[in-house]
């Protein structure tokens, strides 16, 4: 499915300044793999040594945290937005 991944400023030094990419992916995992394949330097910033999405990186599918959608296996539909956002503290 054609989807858009939005890249936070902090990651753009690994993406040549690119703020977002369009890609075709069936799941969040596919989308993240596409992203890190295009920008290999980003790979270790997205996933930890065990291959899990880093603990302090939140991934959203449109408005929802993917952990409420079954994790990175959740499926994408055309036009979906995938957001990467660092977690921040309380209020």
């Amino acid at each position: 499915m054609p989807v858009t991944i939005e890249i936070p400023t902090a990651f753009r030094r690994f993406t040549d300044g690119t703020p977002k990419i369009d890609c075709s992916a069936a799941t969040i995992a596919d989308a993240l793999n596409d992203l890190t394949t295009r920008f290999p330097a980003l790979s270790r910033h997205v996933r930890d040594e065990q291959g899990q999405i880093r603990q302090f990186l939140n991934v959203y599918l449109n408005e929802e945290d993917i952990r409420f959608l079954g994790g990175e296996g959740c499926t994408l539909k055309e036009g979906d937005r995938v957001l990467l956002v660092p977690s921040i503290a309380g209020g």
Binding site: Q55, F56, V85, P86, I88, G90, G91
Partner: protein, 418 residues
């Protein structure tokens, strides 16, 4: 400018100097302020405190401030109440209540964090400051911004308690209400901080902001006569405060201001939003985020950024985490008010109620010194308990009316005891 502190990644240890940034760009983990403790040992002396007022700034050397910093207002310096009646009801002997319900200027411990955050905001040249908030932080940002001449813009969940919204609006702050829960507001603010040159105190100024929480811990140690308690029961929303109290205690030990001793840290949440206590109780490697549904809105953070650190601290200290229902929160608010004359908000009810639960579970022993952290004022969340206090019937301003009223009361009381 030469600093005795700088930002350091809590996971990979990389240092980042001093700048408005909250996370490590290598591993995305949170940054925190680290100090040169050898330099601090020479600079920070307990005897220096003698001439300083009892407020958070008396611990200036332990905070990310510049050397010629002059306090603009007396934040913190709240009472540590030695409990008698509540302790007796709970069956323990050494109970203390750290009462930030009367923290100046906006009646919650968030005044402390905003104190250090605005020093950083000034340093980095921000004219507009803001925050994502469950209420108390917005109050604190609005009040101190008004005093210090910052433009304030705060972001809150649309369904926040009316008193908390009013207590922000009155200072002239711009309030942006977001249709969503706090975690949605938080996410938006992360994106705003990424786009605009604003100082968002709990986003890009977060490392400096959270250092202010340490003063809650410094005060506890000083008020106990420069010793550490055996147990601390602390509310958890984002999970930051509990870790900062521990950091404060560790710094005092490092500088030799208090004797080292094991302190157990206990975390308190509402069952309707309990990702950290759930993670501790189920021994999870990572907490599972939740959709908040509780009257304790100031603790309603379903995706707590400092949750992993809070879980680690609780486990390593030998403490525990617990959560209680909304009904139990209200009962605890009433019990604290009726026994100690302290009217706390829902978060304080959570902490008090959880403390009682931990005692009942045998996790807190009767003779140990236990400090319960009360972090906000009950006047802000009266809606949550109003139903427990229906208006009574008014009577005529005549003695016979009062006598009739008393007769009715006695009759009702007698009927109730039958």
């Amino acid at each position: 400018m030469s600093d005795s502190y700088e930002l350091r990644c809590r996971e990979c240890g990389k240092t980042w100097g001093n700048a408005p940034r909250s996370f490590c760009e290598d591993c995305f983990s949170p940054l925190e302020v680290s100090y040169d403790y050898d330099a601090l040992k020479k600079k920070a002396r307990k005897e220096n405190l003698a001439g300083r007022a009892f407020n958070m700034w008396r611990y200036a050397e332990f905070l990310p401030l510049h050397d010629d910093f002059t306090p603009t207002s007396a934040i913190g310096g709240t009472p540590l109440v030695a409990s008698r009646k509540l302790a007796a009801q709970w069956g323990i002997n050494n109970l203390y209540l750290k009462n930030d319900a009367v923290c100046f200027p906006s009646l919650s411990f968030k005044d402390r964090v905003v104190g250090t955050a605005l020093v950083a905001a000034r340093r980095f040249g921000f004219e507009t400051v803001g925050c994502s908030s469950t209420g108390n932080l917005a109050n604190a940002v609005a009040a101190q911004s008004a005093q210090q001449g910052f433009d304030a813009c705060v972001f809150i969940p649309a369904d926040l308690e009316p008193a908390k919204v009013l207590n922000t609006a009155v200072y002239g702050a711009r309030i942006v209400r977001i249709n969503g829960n706090y975690d949605h507001v938080n996410r938006l603010c992360a994106q705003i901080a990424d786009r605009f040159k604003w100082g968002l105190v709990n986003v890009n100024l977060r490392p400096y902001y959270s250092e202010g929480s340490k003063t809650h811990g410094f005060e506890i140690a000083e008020q106990l006569g420069w010793r550490l308690p055996d147990n601390v029961v602390c509310p958890m929303a984002g999970g930051s405060l509990i870790g900062k109290i521990a950091k404060a205690f560790n710094e005092l030990v490092t500088l030799g201001w208090v004797e080292a001793k094991p302190v157990k840290f206990f975390g308190a949440q509402a069952t309707g939003c309990s990702p950290i206590s759930d993670g501790v109780k189920r021994n999870l490697a990572r907490f599972e985020p939740q959709k908040p549904n509780t009257i304790a809105r100031s603790l309603a953070i379903g995706n707590p950024a400092d949750g992993p650190f809070a879980m680690k601290l609780i486990r390593e200290s030998g403490g525990w985490a617990e959560d209680i229902s909304d009904r139990e929160i209200i009962d605890a608010i009433k019990q604290l008010a009726e026994t100690e004359g302290i009217f706390t908000e829902t978060a304080g009810g959570v902490t008090a109620g959880v403390a009682q639960k931990l005692i009942q579970q045998g996790r807190i022993a009767a003779d140990e010194t236990t400090v319960v952290c009360i972090t906000g004022n009950g006047l802000k969340t009266t809606d949550a308990i109003a139903a427990d206090f229906p208006l009574t019937e008014a009577i005529a301003p005549r003695l016979d009316a009062f006598e009739a009223y008393l007769d009715n009361q006695f009759t009702a009381a007698a009927a109730a005891t039958k």
